[in-house]
């Protein structure tokens, strides 16, 4: 049984006592514990259930690669599923619960016993879902839904109370990993004068060197680490951060790192996570290596752990994973675990070494202590209960698994060798090479990710570069650090003893010729329950690409993303295919290295800051006066203003009625306003618009259409000529930035020799449309500018001082009523709005929103960009021939509009539509035609582009594009309606109201 040792524990503070709960049980740990070490200190080895078979699981590792010990951490608004116990720092009051079991961790009815697991083989899902079809809905989907996913999602009403943020930094050198290699690289890189950022994912420096008993520069590793960190901290050009994980490396030296600021200390007012967005000239990955498990039958029992993890817990946390341990290995490094256990007074029952000739110096030291060492042997199978392993059966490694001896134990420390952490190296395209000696993929320095200068952007160092000796790793890091800094290493690398280990022997399955019964119980992927037999089956069934095998078996698709299982799995695949391992290759390494929170990715962009909301100078008034908003671009425009008890559609009707019969006002500030000035400005606007603009007189306005190069209508608006060489182009609300960019693109790339300047002054002006029969009266009352019919006729503009405010007045109308658009500097916009409200009171002035605007323009047959246009419509379709100049030699889109398809008389044409019963056509409804098309769908002959109830006319009105529409006036056609019905409408002129324009021209 696991327990806390009475002495030792380099990371824990025994003077502290932290309370935490585990499935409701109150337990205690120390400062410096991880959740995993604290649970083991309390004798808890059963930590979860596997994904597919719900088998009992204990912790396997001591780091980020942990596949099993996943917990729901926190509660309520701070609950987070799938958190690794091995990287979760214990804090006082922590709440933890296990996952993926029902009703309890100890008794899980979902558990599938070994004999039944034969019926859930590799590719089970794919095979099962094929047949019979009806089972999908009634059996498989509900079953999968319930069993899929490990942790439960947070409550739907939970709201994350914490803050998150981004942090953008630039640096010369980013070093990922604060083990001794990373520290050495930081020293040599900073000595070149380069700016260095060193990040470490855990809360402490030095990696595993202190646990492994390294000596550096004549000092114990701990002392060297402390001294080196102090030296680096004193340097102006070095920044050190713990609890920051290098998450991903991308092109051009861009890297993401994930800082866990307050996971271990919530409610302290600090951001919980911070996402570092780093632009580095060079990146050094000192990410270490991950130990490989060994595949033998029953290797998934709680108590069977990586050998390095066993000694980590003993040395770092003074936690004994068991009382009696069997070490099983194929290399010398694992003997360190035997020595650490022996030092701690714990029994090592045996070291089972698959190598017939055994190990080197370390092995001799172990033997000298009287520890039993078996060479050329293997574990045939591990036996145990749900709480853990109880014994292992020993066999010949080269055999098929006939047990010759059983050794009782409650812990197995396994080591199948080490794999460099090549993830970050690989993210941006670094390639790997297969190292036969260490049976590992390591970075190929000749095929590094490269920067824009063609030089290597990433240097892998130390164990991450396949150097497992302390001296070799330090020398490698020292040299690469200096190169990353842009210099050469000065002085000698930190000194350590050269590696003294006998060669390892690749072991992918134990015993080497294990019979099928054993292979079916030899786990590769602990979380997803993928076994040696599954990979072999995938190969047999033709899934011979490693990527296909991964998907078919789910090998490496667990939350650890194959950190433990990947190499073993592909070695088994290679065996099954009778290929070399490098020929099989690896699956793709993708960021993030380990999961990062979505909240960190969102950063500040949540709640009110989720998306910027653009506010006009009058926005506050709108908010205070019942505005129902609708998004238009990033603006929020009032759709209508609801008064007490009014429904939205009632408000719209009232606004239209008051405007048509009295006086309305609209906040039109969002309309785009672009100044175009210069000697060639006239020539330029003639190219931008389909109609003639250069002939416009100073003081006059003209409505114009803008098309794309392909002839499609993309924007419209009124152009005012401000002076001989200056035009003011109004765009749609959503079009301001886009059209300004369109203008600049043509000026900068095509007509660079034309003398034209543009400026987007949209936000400089607040603009109010004053609309209705009393519009002139209210402006006259404000006073200062002559707005009489004579002084300011329709489609003219003027400027002056209105009510003491500097103003431009455009006499234009989008409603068909007498209408003026008054522009004032934005900082006076609210003053103008208030002045109009005050002066207009006697006329019943009524602010109206976008829906009233839309209905009134539709009553007049005016088109709306985005309703009548959708990127496939040309002005000719809309009957706007009058706005297309025949005289101009060219305009953007002219040539495209001459193409045969554009000139096709069968293009649908804009018409008005009147339902025969006065009802309102459905938005986007299709006009149906006889027969069906090749796909069996009903033929169509048109569609609705705008449809409203017109309070002015007391009936439904619509506009639509209809085949040969303009030639079919008076004809009745049917439109689709919701629920499969149809609605009949008569084709009419799109101008429903005041076709002579008498109302606006007064």
């Amino acid at each position: 049984m696991s327990k806390r040792l009475s002495t030792g524990g380099r990371l824990i503070d025994r003077d502290t006592s932290l309370r935490f709960t585990f499935n409701g049980t109150h337990l205690r740990g120390h400062q410096g514990d991880t959740l995993a070490s604290a649970l083991m200190a309390n004798g808890r080895t059963l930590m979860g259930r596997s994904f597919k078979y719900h088998r009992p699981r204990g912790v396997v590792t001591s780091g980020a690669e942990e596949p099993n010990a996943l917990f729901g951490l926190g509660k309520g608004d701070r609950f987070e599923p799938n958190q690794r116990a091995t990287t979760a720092e214990l804090f006082d009051g922590a709440t933890t619960e296990t996952q993926n079991h029902w009703p309890s961790l100890e008794t899980d009815v979902g558990a599938v016993n070994a004999s039944l697991s034969r019926f859930l083989p590799a590719g089970f899902y794919y095979k099962t879902f094929l047949w019979p079809r009806s089972f999908w809905k009634h059996v498989y989907e509900p079953f999968i839904r319930r069993s899929a996913g490990l942790g439960k999602a947070p409550d739907k009403d939970a709201r994350d109370p914490d803050d998150y943020e981004h942090f953008h930094i630039h640096t010369d050198v980013l070093i990922v990993g604060g083990g001794v290699a990373g520290l050495a690289a930081a020293k040599s890189a900073s000595a070149t004068g380069a700016e260095v950022l060193l990040v470490e994912q855990t809360s402490h420096w030095g990696g595993r060197a202190p646990v492994d008993g390294a000596e550096i520069d004549g000092m114990p590793a701990d002392a060297w680490i402390e001294k080196t960190v102090a030296e680096l901290e004193a340097m102006e050009n070095v920044r050190l951060r713990t609890r920051v994980m290098g998450s991903g490396i991308y092109d051009h030296g861009y890297a993401l790192a994930y800082e866990r600021i307050a996971d271990h200390a919530p409610e302290g007012g600090r951001p919980r996570h911070r996402l570092w967005r780093i632009r580095a000239r060079r990146i050094v990955t000192a990410t270490g290596a991950i130990e490989r498990p060994i595949a033998f039958a029953g290797n998934d029992l709680p108590g069977i752990m990586l050998a390095s993890a066993v000694r980590d817990y003993v040395v770092n946390h003074a936690v004994a994973p068991g009382d009696r341990t069997v070490v099983v290995c194929n290399n010398d490094d694992a003997y360190r675990t035997a020595l650490v256990l022996d030092d701690a007074g714990l029994k090592v029952a045996a070291v089972v070494d698959a190598r017939p000739q055994g190990g080197g110096t370390l092995a001799r030291t172990v033997k000298d202590r009287g520890i039993r060492v078996l060479q050329g042997k293997a574990i045939a199978k591990a036996k145990g209960t749900k709480t853990g392993v109880t014994a292992v059966g020993i066999c010949e490694f080269t055999g098929t698994g006939d047990v010759t001896e059983t050794i009782a134990c409650d812990c197995v420390a396994m080591s199948g060798g080490w794999s460099p952490v090549v993830h970050l190296w690989s993210h941006a395209g670094g390639k790997l090479t297969w190292d036969e000696t260490e049976a590992q993929f390591r970075p190929d320095p000749d095929r590094a990710p490269r920067n824009e200068d063609g030089e290597a952007m990433v240097h892998a160092v130390g164990a991450a570069n396949g150097h497992f000796g302390t001296a070799e790793g330090l020398a490698d890091a020292w040299d690469a650090g200096a190169r990353a800094g842009g210099g050469t290493a000065s002085g000698a690398a930190p000194a350590a003893a050269a590696r003294d280990e006998a060669a390892m022997m690749p072991v992918w399955l134990m015993p080497a010729n294990a019979k099928i019964g054993l292979r079916r119980k030899a786990w590769l992927d602990f979380q997803n329950d993928v076994k040696v037999s599954d990979v072999a089956l995938a190969a047999q069934e033709g899934f011979t690409s490693v990527e296909h095998t991964k998907r078919y078996t789910t090998l490496g698709m667990a939350t650890d993303q194959g950190k433990l299982s990947n190499i073993n799995g592909l070695a088994i695949l290679a065996q099954a295919l009778d290929q070399e391992i490098p020929a099989v290759g690896t699956t793709t390494f993708r960021p993030p290295y380990t999961p990062i929170s979505l909240a960190a990715i969102a950063g500040e962009a949540r709640g009110d800051l989720f998306q910027p909301v653009r506010r006009t100078p009058m926005h506050q008034w709108h908010e205070d006066n019942g505005a129902v908003f609708e998004p238009v671009g990033h603006w929020r425009r009032p759709y209508c203003f609801r008064r007490d008890g009014e429904r939205t559609e009632e408000a719209v009707r009232r606004e239209i009625d008051r405007t048509r019969h009295g006086l309305g006002m609209l906040d039109a500030s969002t309309l785009g306003k672009i100044i175009v000035k210069g000697p060639d400005a006239g020539r330029f606007v003639d190219m931008l618009y389909t109609n003639m603009m250069s002939s416009l007189k100073v003081g006059a306005c003209r409505y114009g259409l803008m098309c794309s190069e392909n002839g499609f209508l993309m924007d419209d608006g009124v152009v005012a000529r401000l002076s001989d060489d200056t035009f003011l182009c109004h765009t749609t609300t959503g079009g301001a930035e886009r059209i300004h960019a369109h203008m600049e693109e043509w000026l900068q790339t095509e007509w660079w020799d034309w003398q034209v300047w543009t400026a987007n002054v949209t936000e400089q002006w607040a603009q109010v449309a004053v609309v209705g029969p009393h519009a002139r009266k209210v402006l006259e009352k404000l006073g200062g500018i002559d707005v009489s019919k004579e002084a300011l006729p329709f489609m003219r503009w003027t400027e002056g001082t209105l009510a003491g405010l500097p103003a431009r007045i455009f006499r234009i109308s989008f409603s068909g009523e007498l209408s003026f658009e008054v522009g004032v500097p934005a900082n006076r916009g609210r003053a103008l709005w208030d002045a109009l409200l005050e002066a207009g009171e006697e006329f019943g002035i009524t602010p109206y929103g976008t829906e009233a605007l839309h209905v009134m323009r539709a009553e007049k047959g005016f088109i709306m960009i985005g309703d009548e246009t959708d990127g496939t419509v040309i002005p000719q379709d809309l009957g706007l021939h009058w706005a297309i100049s025949k005289k101009k030699e060219d305009y953007i889109g002219k040539r495209a509009q001459a193409r045969s398809h554009m000139a096709d008389p069968d293009r649908w044409q804009l018409v008005g539509l009147e339902t025969t019963d006065g009802s309102v056509l459905d938005d986007g409804a299709y006009a149906i035609a006889d027969g069906t098309n090749a796909n069996g769908q009903r033929n169509t002959q048109g569609r609705v582009t705008s449809t409203y109830h017109s309070p002015t006319l007391g009936r439904g009105i619509a506009m639509g594009l209809v085949l040969h529409g303009t030639d079919r006036m008076g004809e009745e056609i049917d439109f689709t309606a919701e629920g499969g019905a149809t609605r009949r409408a008569r084709i009419v002129s799109p101008v429903f109201y005041d076709p002579e324009g008498e109302r606006q021209n007064v």
Partner: protein, 198 residues
């Protein structure tokens, strides 16, 4: 009856202040004039009218009252007192008569903020919001950067008093205020930058 004199110009945010890692203030009404033209053609007349040096690429020059900022290879922005902007724009336009240039008063189009506090904190607040390089050597006083602040366009520079000046479009003043005060909230210190020691 409506009296314009009792309705003075009002900026997007009035008198807002926030004290956190740094002090954030809405800077109030600020005169801004966009100048577009070839520097060879407009540089001298602009310098004559304003009394300011024409800024180099990414530069901003100033005399404590007015400032002239490089905005692009053919655009400058003149910062001045709000009240003088209209007249100053007219006088600049007059002095550029005959040149191909555009002078336009855009004092109402943007909102301005002033952030004050230790320099390393000012840089830290900025680094939470913009991908631009804000290290002391990359953003020294006298340099202006046009970049983005989270999801919107913004420009920023350190003025002669060591304050950080930020401008954005008027419509997103509330958004940028929330960004800046959020980035400066107590407890969110990063301690990455260090004040340059003399």
């Amino acid at each position: 009856m409506f009296d314009a004199t009792s309705h003075p110009a009002r900026p997007a945010l009035e008198g807002a202040t926030f004290d956190g890692l740094v002090r954030v203030e809405a800077a109030g009404l600020t005169g801004m004039i966009t100048l577009r033209g070839d520097v060879d053609a407009i540089g001298m007349p602009v310098a004559d009218v304003t009394g300011l040096d024409v800024p180099d690429t990414l530069g901003i020059t100033g005399d404590g009252v007015r400032a002239l900022a490089w905005m692009s290879p053919d655009e400058m922005m003149l910062f001045c007192d709000y009240a003088e902007a209209e007249e100053l724009a007219a006088s600049l336009a007059g002095s550029l008569e005959g040149e191909h240039a555009l002078v336009v008063n855009v004092s109402d189009a943007r909102a301005a903020f002033r952030l004050s506090g230790p320099e390393h904190r000012l840089r830290e607040v900025l680094a939470k919001l913009t991908p631009a390089d804000v290290r002391p050597e990359a953003l020294p006083p006298g340099m202006i950067r046009r970049s983005r602040l989270a999801q919107v366009a913004g420009a920023f520079w350190l003025d002669d008093a060591g304050d950080l000046r930020v401008i954005c479009f008027r419509s997103v003043a509330d958004y940028v205020w929330a960004l800046l005060t959020g980035a400066a909230r107590p407890g969110s210190e990063v301690d990455h930058f260090r004040d340059v020691r003399m």
